[in-house]
């Protein structure tokens, strides 16, 4: 730590105004506040402030994402090994996945932070922490084989159109990470659907073992073929986006988020409750045909596809979710219902989490509006009662 401090102290004059690289002043500021809590003191209002800030809040989301990311790396190698019939050891699989996933993370951060820094410099603002989380989320909800140029385009789209045009972190309507995925989904559908793209190298036709399909459980459910066992899906030994497969790893993240109070347990709980109830309802009315999507057990929905990842890390984004406590219950519950409806009744695409969250992002302000209106009506009613007296 001390050595790092020395380095920063040494290069600081170069980046300060009047220095050789003085034009990068605000960029340097961003790095400096990353390294040090600044020495600013309170000026008006309260004299002391709580020790929490957005940097710390966001870093706890990153920490919570670590189990899913690490598992995703291992699973990338594991799935590749299955598909090629290889005989990799544990660390071999992890290393294979690490080399596959790391470029995605690097591209996501470089492109996203580049745009954020530029936008902050244009506006004269400090660089916001929002993208620290988005930049990690985006690679985790992409298929591992997504071409890096498409990923870069998607990140740029999400940051510019999804966030900066609205005014930056805190002002956006839709979750930027999901917008990146939606961009790929609509602009390059072949890169994010089908049976081949979920496993490294499969789409290029690298040696496939006989009978290996590469289909995700959702695709199986859609086609009416049997889905993997609940435990395989829960632990995550299945094809899928990098970070979404292991419900167990995601649960670890959820525990961190709930214990630290960084994300709303109300949204997580009500999303699960909404999906579970809808799933049970569909099970009850499902036709006798065992290949019908309606027959997928409700609890399987919770461990398939992006449901768990979305409920824990995406739906709970404080900026784009409902902001009132009552609103959060309604918002989460509706996401849960709509995911299952999209999954079970949409003929084109087996996954519903992304679209359900984006849809409810759109409606979150409306939900909040009605919750706040009820408070306003109460106040108005009180005033009129008093006037009548």
């Amino acid at each position: 730590m001390k050595a790092l401090r020395k380095i920063v102290d040494n290069i600081k004059p170069t980046f300060s105004k009047g220095g050789k690289l003085g034009f990068l002043h605000s960029t340097f500021d961003a790095f400096e506040t990353f390294l040090f809590v600044p020495d600013t003191v309170t000026k008006s209002g309260v004299h002391i402030k709580d020790s929490i800030d957005l940097k710390r809040t966001m870093s706890f989301v990153i920490i919570a994402l670590m189990p899913a990311m690490l598992f995703g790396m291992w699973n990338t190698g594991y799935q590749y090994n299955l598909s090629t019939g290889g005989s990799m050891e544990f660390w071999g699989m992890f290393w294979f996945g690490f080399l596959k996933v790391l470029p995605l993370i690097i591209v996501s951060y470089v492109v996203g932070l580049g745009i954020e820094f530029t936008a902050a410099q244009i506006r004269g603002h400090e660089v916001n922490e929002g993208f620290l989380v988005s930049g990690m989320l985006i690679p985790l909800i992409m298929p591992v084989d997504v071409p890096l140029w498409i990923l870069a385009l998607a990140v740029a789209f999400a940051v510019i159109i999804g966030k900066e045009v609205f005014g930056g972190t805190g002002m956006n309507i839709w979750n930027p990470a999901l917008l990146a995925r939606a961009f790929v989904f609509f602009a390059y559908p072949s890169q994010i659907s089908g049976d081949k793209i979920w496993i490294a190298g499969l789409s290029e036709g690298q040696g496939i073992v006989d009978g290996f399909s590469g289909a995700t459980p959702l695709a199986n459910a859609m086609a009416g073929t049997p889905v993997p066992s609940f435990s395989d899906m829960f632990f995550g030994f299945i094809p899928g986006c990098v970070g979404e497969t292991s419900t167990l790893a995601i649960l670890l993240g959820a525990i961190i988020l709930i214990a630290t109070g960084v994300a709303s347990w109300k949204i997580m709980f009500s999303t699960v409750a909404g999906a579970m109830l809808t799933g049970l309802l569909l099970n009850a009315v499902a036709p006798a045909d065992p290949s019908s999507y309606l027959n997928i057990p409700a609890w399987d929905h919770l461990v398939m596809g992006g449901f768990a990842f979305g409920a824990v890390f995406m739906a709970t984004d404080p900026v784009t979710s409902a902001q009132t406590e009552t609103g959060k219950w309604i918002y989460g519950f509706l996401i849960g219902i709509i995911v299952i409806i999209i999954r079970a009744f949409n003929p084109g695409y087996p996954e519903g989490m992304m679209l359900a969250i984006l849809l409810l992002n759109t409606f979150a302000p409306l939900i909040d509006h009605y919750v706040v209106q009820s408070n306003i009506r109460k106040r108005l009613k009180r005033a009129t009662v008093t006037v009548k007296k």
């Binding site: 730590m1 790092l4 401090r5 506040t33 390294l35 040090f36 809590v37 600044p38 020495d39 600013t40 003191v41 309170t42 008006s44 209002g45 309260v46 004299h47 002391i48 402030k49 709580d50 020790s51 929490i52 800030d53 957005l54 940097k55 710390r56 809040t57 870093s59 706890f60 400090e126 916001n128 922490e129 929002g130 005014g167 930056g168 972190t169 805190g170 002002m171 214990a259 630290t260 109070g261 960084v262 709303s264 404080p318 900026v319 979710s321 902001q323 009132t324 406590e325 959060k328 706040v372 408070n375 306003i376 109460k378 106040r379 108005l380 009180r382 005033a383 008093t386 006037v387």
Partner: protein, 458 residues
């Protein structure tokens, strides 16, 4: 009406340096100040010039909008200096204390026969009128409007606040006399709130002609605005008055002795206070009168941290500096460290045992009994509203704070009104500012909103 109120939301900030129950000094200041900035919306007209002799109770300032509202000298002596700032703005009137302790003698009416107007006239003339505040807005009330009711908080829950039971233990007769006067100024009654924990032991629970409420909960449970919101919220068009117990006692003394006597026992507190305890003084006293209470040994990385002198508490007080003066409404002085130091990777360090946070991203929630030497570092830079549900946890009022703040920022008068601007003043949302992860200046925004309402509604 059920008179017990349980508030589950709120926060007691565990700050070091609470005053022990003893009076360690009787301060007789050489110089005292009358500060127009203590009084919201006061447009000061200066009534004295340098060299004028004054007594305790001689008018110093009047409000240009209503000349009968006067601010009076707390002591007898000579006007030493009139301090002006930019554009000749009146900052302070300094009075040299002659220590003769002479008071203007006021003719007080007999309470049994007095009309309301006679009572308000003597309160205005004596300079005690400003101890009463009007809600909405927390301003000096208009004498012509009779309030719906008068609210008094019998305890102060803010960080390191004085224990009013101790500070006012000798004032029982004055308090009763003051309440008798206030009862003649409203038909709605006097509401007095006491904390449930020391209700029976409080010297105030035997006061007569008041409506008692017992309150249970953490700060801001002692804020009169929070109490009103839970007893009988203010509606559009209504006016209520609030007054603190020190003010009630001063009114009592005016009507029993005929003098303007605002002497009070205040708490000198804070992590940088060598001897946190009580002192007897007058509002307007100079901080240099208590300089021996400041502890100059606190260090960070080998460098001494300067002391911040706060007139009032750490949430709502004013940074007055080592030569500043105690504000008119303030009942405590808090000394804390300035936090102008860098901290390496502070925002991600898992253990920062000297830092307090209400959030569970620190471990301070595991040691609820520990108290902290907090300083003025902002612990991060200002950002847009991102986290939600944080303010709500420390605001025991039926209000959506974020929506109210956004309405104020948008200068949307209709929505400010609909979302409850009449029910709050800055101090009620001070804890929201403390806990805010985005470091938003909540009180400054509320203040702007109230100023806007006053301007629009006048």
């Amino acid at each position: 009406m059920s008179n017990h109120i349980r508030l589950s939301k709120g926060l007691d900030i565990p700050l070091k340096g609470i005053a022990s129950n003893q009076t360690t000094k009787i301060i007789s200041s050489d110089i005292l100040a009358v500060k127009p900035a203590d009084f919201r919306t006061l447009n000061p007209k200066l009534l004295v010039k340098e060299g004028d002799a004054v007594k305790a109770g001689s008018p110093i300032l009047a409000d240009k909008k209503n000349l009968s509202v006067q601010i009076c000298s707390p002591v007898s002596g000579v006007v030493k200096e009139i301090v002006r700032g930019e554009k000749r703005k009146l900052l302070e009137v300094l009075i040299q204390n002659d220590k003769k302790n002479e008071h203007v003698q006021f003719n007080v009416p007999n309470l049994k026969t007095a009309k309301r107007e006679e009572l308000t006239d003597v309160l205005l003339e004596s300079g005690l009128w400003p101890v009463i505040k009007q809600r909405p807005y927390g301003i000096i009330p208009n004498p012509a409007i009779e309030p719906k009711a008068i609210y008094i908080s019998g305890f102060d829950s803010s960080p390191l606040a004085p224990d009013l039971d101790f500070a006012l233990k000798g004032e029982k007769e004055s308090l009763q006399a003051g309440i008798d006067v206030l009862n003649l100024l409203t038909k709605g009654g006097i509401h007095l709130s006491l904390h449930i924990d020391n209700y029976a032991g409080s010297p105030f629970h035997r006061l007569e002609k008041v409506i008692f409420h017992t309150i249970e909960g953490h700060h801001p449970a002692g804020n009169v605005g929070v109490q009103i919101n839970n007893i009988d919220p203010i509606n559009k068009g209504e006016v209520v008055w609030t007054i603190d117990l020190y003010g009630v006692a001063a009114i009592g003394k005016l009507f029993t002795k005929g003098v303007y006597d605002i002497k009070k026992t205040i708490a000198i507190t804070g992590p940088r206070c060598t001897n946190p305890s009580y002192a007897e003084c007058l509002p307007g006293m100079c901080m240099s009168d208590i300089k021996e209470y400041a502890n100059h040994t606190a260090k960070s990385a080998g460098e001494e941290l300067p002391v911040r002198w706060i007139s009032g508490n750490v949430l709502t007080g004013t940074n007055v500096g080592a030569d500043g003066f105690l504000g008119f409404y303030h009942n405590q002085i808090t000394l804390i460290s300035e936090g102008n130091y860098y901290e390496m990777f502070g925002w991600i360090k898992p253990f920062r045992s000297k830092k307090f946070s209400v959030s569970h991203t620190y471990f301070s929630w595991l040691t609820p009994k520990k108290s902290y030497e907090l300083d003025t570092n902002t612990n991060g830079a200002e950002r847009a509203f991102v986290m939600t549900g944080v303010y709500e946890k420390v605001l025991p009022m039926d209000i959506y704070p974020t929506y109210l703040l956004k309405a104020i920022l948008a200068e949307d008068i209709d929505n400010m009104e609909a979302l409850g601007i009449y029910e709050v003043i800055e101090e009620d949302l001070a804890l929201c500012e403390f806990v805010c992860p985005s470091k938003i200046d909540v009180q400054e925004i509320v203040s702007k909103g109230i100023d806007l309402m006053i301007k629009e509604m006048s």
